[in-house]
Each structure stands twice: as C-alpha cells, then as structure tokens.
Subunit: 170 residues, 2 copies
Amino acid sequence: MSLRHAVLGLLSEGPASGYDLMKLFDVSLSNVWPATQSQLYAELGKLADAGLVDVVAEGPRGRKEYAITEAGLAELRHWISDVEPASVQRSDMLLRVFFLAQLDPEQARQYFRHQAELAAKRLEYMESIRGFVEEGGDNLSVNGRIALEYGLRLGRVQREWAEWAEGQIR
Amino acid sequence: MSLRHAVLGLLSEGPASGYDLMKLFDVSLSNVWPATQSQLYAELGKLADAGLVDVVAEGPRGRKEYAITEAGLAELRHWISDVEPASVQRSDMLLRVFFLAQLDPEQARQYFRHQAELAAKRLEYMESIRGFVEEGGDNLSVNGRIALEYGLRLGRVQREWAEWAEGQIR
DNA sequence: TTTCTCATGTAACAAGTTACATGATTCG
DNA sequence: CGAATCATGTAACTTGTTACATGAGAAA
C-alpha cells in the first residue's frame, strides 16, 4: 500500500491535481517508488472514495485539485511511524549473481565490471541532482537530501563491492 | 520476469521438484527475491508449457521432478548477461523519509534510530548465516557468499547512514 | 492410528505495467 | 491554424499475496 502513502505524502505539502502529482513524482519520489500515470489517477480515485483526500477545486480541462483530509493525515502519520518498512528488497542484480557459474569466468568478471560502471554512472547522476536539490528549503527537499545521501552512500558500496567481486572470480 | 529466471537458475544446478525448489528458495534466494509456494508451482507449469523445463520423473504423492532444457539454459544465460537489471529499487523505508516533516523532530529521530537498530539486527543475522554458508562448495554457495558480502556492506552503510541522519534532524 | 511432512494445486484479490483513447486550452 | 502541453481516464495483462483445499506416505 505504499503508493497510497506516497500520494498522501505529496498532498501533505499542499493541494495538487493528478497531473501535478505526476510531475512531482518524476522529480522526487520516482527514484525510491516509481509509479505510472494510470496508477496515480486510479489511486486518487480510491483515496477519495476512502475519504483520505477531497476534491477541493475543479479547473479547466476537467482538472481536479485534491487536498488531504484529517483522516488522510492521520493515516499518513500512522504509516510512517507505526508500520514497519519491508525488510527484504528485491534485487534482480543480486539474483543473477547466484547463477554466475552459468557463464565462463571472463563473462562473470565482465558482469561485475559492468555493475561497477553502472554504479559509477548513478553516482555521477546523483552528484548532479545534488546541486539542484541543494536549494529547496521545503520539507520535501530537506528530507529528499537525506534520501539522496543514502543513494550516494549506497552507490559507493555498490561500486566497491562490484570491484571486489570481480576479483573473487578465479 | 525474474521469478522465472530464479527457478531456471536453481534448476541449472540439477533436477528438483516444486517442493524441493520451495525449500531451496527459503534458504537462498528468498533474501533477494522472495516467492510464495503458489507462485512457484504456477511458474513451473508455465515454464514447462514454454519448453524451458521438462518433467523428468514422477514420484510418490504426485511428486514431479523438473529438469532444465537446453532452451531453458540458453534463456537463463541470455537473461544473466544481456538483460539489464532493474535500475530503480523500491524502498518504502526511503519513501517515509521524504515525509518525515509530518512527525515532530523527536519522532523523526526515533525513526532513524529504529532503522539503525534494524540494520544492526540484519547484520547480526547475516554474520550468523555467513558461517553456515561458508562450508558449501557448490556454485550456489560460492556465489551466494558474494551476494552475502553485498548484504553485509549494505547493512553497514544503512546503519551508518541512519545514525548520521538522526543527527540531521534539528 | 494419529500426526507430521511431503506434495500439488486453485481462487480471490491487490499492485504494477503498457498501451490506448480522448479532448480542452494555450502558445507561437 | 497547428503543435505542444494540460488533463483525465479505461482496458488488458502480468506479477505478487493470502488463504484455502486436498490427499498420499512416513514415522511415532
């Protein structure tokens, strides 16, 4: 049920339309919780049915502006502090590692080299948006920087681990 | 389509029944790719329909033993070396971080403290299975140790990051 | 003989993906 | 006027979760 809370979280910063949320998602949450446009609109409908958000205004082109309700805020806070985050995170990158014996050693080393490169690229990307996010003083930016720091640290261990792993293949 | 390849990967080590695979999953892959029993049996059926595995023996209690086919091995190798792993990994733990402004500062610090503790517990758990996995000389164990090393390094940054983040909340 | 483990499956539902459909308004 | 952008939605499909159903064979 995390998409639901992602939407509630964005709306906790102020009212927005589905279209607004979509764009907001793309520049913020999509790195930790991707969502598609159709998923978003469907979720807004369900959220409204459940009374966690309200349609507070209707604009041109059928635009509907949503705002979080008291019940929605309560649900959001409850989710943040009382619900345990998922303990296992799926990784098809690590899944492949288990089966590397199906490749010959040089290909297996290549796999790790490639993962190291990808991690390096992600690091570069995160460094680049760091300057961009640096400015925002809003809640999302402040906490987004904490999340970004996680990404940076994660990227570094990924790169180092992949380099180490390459050396493990004899 | 990763479950499919997880099953192919396990079968690449030798024939097994759905029941065998289930137990194997629990002690190995479930940490990087959880799957339920019903998912497994369904996938085996689809895999057989697609000609990537064959039923090579039938035993007591309706037991069916599956073996990977040449086509299955080819598909597995192709997936490992030619298909890019997913670039974004969902994290509802990081998602919550974006919305921490909804809690008061002490609660937010508590959140990070709790995450640091969880990371420490996971580290302990991984240290404990490390000795256990240390022995196996089979392919799955050798590469499993490389995956485990990833888990250990990840756990350490998670703990350190959470401790750092706690200090960021003013 | 009763209980445990082995063993496979179905059904209902929730979540996520991909593609398509449609139309209003704004801007150059 | 034509193109870009704004704006919402539906449909088909795949993947994952939860719960239930059933029964054979082994061991106590």
